[in-house]
C-alpha cells in the first residue's frame, strides 16, 4: 500500500548497559496501514514501541511522526500518536468517564469537544454500558478496551498497541481483534504481538524483529505468497541425478537431505501422482512422498531460532 509516510524510524539503537536491546531498527508506517510487529518475548518489541511513543529515549537514531521528530518537536509528534502500553495506564480509582475526560484534557482536546470525544471513543470500544463504573471494578477485557479508548480519544493518525490481547479470554481476544481491524479503517495502527493468527487476521504488513534486529519485513500478501510455495519431501532408494529431478514438471529447485531424501521446491504445476508415476516408470524406488506447507508459525520459528545465523536471517527463509 502506498501513501503518506506517518512514522519513520531510522537507524534506531538502544542499549541497556552492555545489552544491545535494539540495533539498527528501521521502520515505516504509511497512512491507513495496519502493521504487525512480531517477535518473541524480549526481542525488542516493547522497547521499540516505547521509543516511538516518546517514553524512552533511543541511544541513537531518530523517530519522526507525521514529519515531526519525537525528541525535537515532541508536542506535535505526540499529538499525532495514541499509545496503549503493554500494561494499560489506568487510574483504577476513576470511573471510565472521568478517566477518558482526563485523557482528553491531557491530549489538549478543547473543553467543548471533550464530551463528544469521550462518547465517540466509548462507542467505538463498546464501553457504553460501563461508562459510570470504576475502572478498578471492570474485567480485564473491559480494562483493555478502556486502554484502547484512551489511545484513540484524540483521533490520532497513528495508534500504537503493545500486545493488546495478552491475558484475555478467546472471546475477548476476538472482540479486541475486530476492534483493531476496525481502527485500521481510519487510523494507521502498529500492533505488537507474539500471537501469529492475530497478525494474519488483522495486519496488512508484517515486521518480524529478533534479537533487536529486523529479521523480515513484508506485506501480508507477500508473506502469503512466500508461504504458499509448497515443498515435497521424497525418499528414493535408487535416486537419479539432481538434474533429472530438477527437470521434472513443476519442480523449481531440489535440495539433497542425504540418505536418498530430497526436498523438492515446487510451484502450482507440480502433481504428486505424476511424480509417483514417473518414479515407478524409472525404477527410482519411491519410499516416501510427503507434501508440506510452510506455516507462518514455522517461518517465525525459523527466523527467531536462527540465533547463530543472525547476520543472514533472510537465508533461513528459502522455504
Amino acid at each position: 500500500m502506498t501513501g503518506e509516510t506517518l512514522i519513520q524510524v531510522e537507524h534506531l539503537y538502544r542499549d541497556y548497559g552492555d545489552l544491545h536491546a535494539l540495533s539498527d531498527v528501521n521502520l515505516t508506517l504509511n497512512r491507513g496501514e495496519v502493521l504487525g510487529f512480531l517477535g518473541p518475548n524480549g526481542a525488542g518489541k516493547s522497547t521499540t514501541m516505547q521509543i516511538i511513543s516518546g517514553n524512552l529515549a533511543p541511544s541513537s537514531g531518530r523517530v519522526r511522526i507525521n514529519g515531526f521528530d519525537i525528541l525535537d518537536d515532541p508536542r506535535q509528534a505526540k499529538a499525532a500518536l495514541g499509545f496503549l502500553p503493554e500494561q494499560p495506564p489506568l487510574y483504577l480509582e476513576l470511573t471510565v468517564n472521568e478517566y477518558l475526560e482526563y485523557c482528553a484534557k491531557l491530549n489538549r482536546i478543547p473543553q467543548r469537544d471533550i464530551t463528544k470525544s469521550v462518547v465517540r471513543a466509548c462507542e467505538r470500544c463498546g464501553l457504553g454500558k460501563v461508562q459510570k463504573r470504576l475502572i478498578g471494578n471492570l474485567s480485564k477485557g473491559y480494562q483493555q478496551r478502556v486502554g484502547i479508548a484512551q489511545a484513540i480519544i484524540h483521533a490520532p493518525d497513528v495508534v500504537i498497541l503493545d500486545e493488546p490481547t495478552v491475558g484475555l479470554d478467546p472471546i475477548q481476544i476476538r472482540e479486541i481483534r475486530d476492534l483493531i481491524r476496525e481502527l485500521g479503517n481510519d487510523h494507521s495502527v502498529i500492533l505488537s504481538t507474539h500471537i501469529l493468527p492475530e497478525v494474519q487476521s488483522t495486519c496488512d504488513r508484517v515486521v518480524i524483529i529478533n534479537n533487536g534486529k529486523i529479521a523480515l519485513e513484508d506485506s501480508l500478501a507477500g508473506l502469503d505468497a512466500r508461504l504458499r510455495k509448497d515443498f515435497v519431501t521424497v525418499s528414493l532408494i535408487n535416486p537419479p541425478t539432481i538434474e533429472t529431478l530438477t527437470a521434472l514438471n513443476g519442480v523449481d529447485t531440489v535440495e539433497q537431505l542425504g540418505n536418498g531424501r530430497y526436498q523438492l521446491h515446487c510451484d502450482d504445476n507440480f502433481n504428486s501422482a505424476e511424480f509417483a508415476h514417473h518414479a515407478v516408470n524409472n525404477q527410482w524406488q519411491l519410499s516416501e512422498l510427503t507434501p508440506q506447507t510452510s506455516s507462518l508459525e514455522q517461518m517465525f520459528i525459523d527466523i527467531t531460532c536462527s540465533d547463530n545465523n543472525t547476520d543472514h536471517p533472510q537465508e533461513d527463509l528459502t522455504v
Partner: protein
C-alpha cells in the same frame, strides 16, 4: 490549561485517599489540643509563656511554628505517591505519551499538592482565628507567621515531589523526602556550626530553611527570606523536571 487539569486530577486524587483524611483530622485534633494548652498557660502567666509577644505571638505564631514541624512528616506523606505511584502503576506512560511537556506535568502536580496543603493549612488558620472571638489579634504578626508557615509547607511539598520522582518505591520516596527536609531544615545549621571555615559556614547557614522562616514567625518580613523560598522551590521544581527528562534515558 493543561497544568490545571493535572492539578485538578492530583487534588481529587488526594481526596480519594484515606491517608489524606486521616492527616486532615489528625491535624485538627493536634492543633486544637495545642491551642487549649497554650491558651491555658497564657491565662495563668500572660507575661511570658514561650517568649512570644502578646496573644498572637504566644499562641498563633507558636501554633504555626509547631505546624511547620508537623509538616516535616505530613508533607512527605502527601507527596510520596505523586510520581512514585505513577511510575509503579505505569500510568506515567499516559503522561509521557501525551503532547505535554515535563514542565507542565511537574507544575501541574505541584500546583495540585500546593492547593491541598493550603486546605490542610486552613485548619490551623481557622482554629487560631477562633481566638479573635475573645481577644484582639495582631493581624500583621498573624499574617506574617501564616505566610512563613505556607512558604515552609510549599518548600516541603516541592522537596517531597522531587523525592517522589526519584523512585517508584512509595515508602522510599517518603523516607528520602523526610531526609532531605530534615537536612535542609536543621542539619545544615548543625553542620555549619561544626565547620570553622567562614565561607562554607555562611553558605551552609544560608541553606537552612528554619533560619529563613523564623523572622517570619516573629513578624519580620525580609525580601531576602522571600527570595530564599522562591529560589529553593524553583530549584526543586527544576530538579524534578530534569529527573523526569532523564527517566527516559535509563530503566
Amino acid at each position: 490549561m493543561i497544568i490545571f487539569s493535572i492539578a485538578q486530577r492530583e487534588l481529587r486524587n488526594m481526596f480519594n485517599s484515606l491517608l489524606s483524611w486521616i492527616i486532615l483530622s489528625g491535624i485538627s485534633l493536634v492543633v486544637f489540643l495545642i491551642l487549649v494548652t497554650l491558651v491555658k498557660s497564657y491565662l495563668e502567666n500572660p507575661t511570658n509563656s514561650l517568649g512570644g509577644i502578646g496573644v498572637t505571638g504566644t499562641i498563633s505564631s507558636s501554633i504555626f511554628y509547631f505546624c511547620s514541624y508537623l509538616f516535616i512528616l505530613i508533607a512527605p506523606m502527601l507527596t510520596m505517591r505523586s510520581f512514585s505511584a505513577e511510575f509503579k502503576n505505569k500510568t506515567s506512560q499516559l503522561l509521557f505519551s501525551a503532547p505535554i511537556s515535563m514542565t507542565e506535568i511537574v507544575l501541574g502536580k505541584c500546583l495540585g499538592l500546593y492547593l491541598f496543603s493550603l486546605i490542610t493549612a486552613a485548619l490551623p488558620v481557622l482554629i487560631t482565628l477562633s481566638l479573635a472571638f475573645g481577644t484582639q489579634l495582631d493581624i500583621g504578626l498573624y499574617l506574617s507567621s501564616l505566610l512563613g508557615f505556607i512558604l515552609v509547607t510549599f518548600t516541603f511539598i516541592t522537596i517531597g515531589v522531587f523525592a517522589s520522582s526519584i523512585t517508584n518505591h512509595i515508602g522510599l520516596a517518603a523516607f528520602s523526602s523526610i531526609g532531605i527536609i530534615i537536612f535542609l531544615f536543621w542539619l545544615v545549621e548543625l553542620l555549619a556550626s561544626l565547620i570553622k571555615i567562614d565561607a562554607i559556614q555562611r553558605g551552609l547557614q544560608y541553606l537552612s530553611i528554619s533560619k529563613h522562616a523564623s523572622p517570619l514567625y516573629n513578624g519580620q518580613l525580609n525580601s531576602s527570606d522571600l527570595l530564599f523560598f522562591i529560589l529553593i522551590i524553583t530549584t526543586f521544581i527544576v530538579l524534578t523536571i530534569r529527573r523526569l527528562d532523564s527517566y527516559r534515558m535509563q530503566h
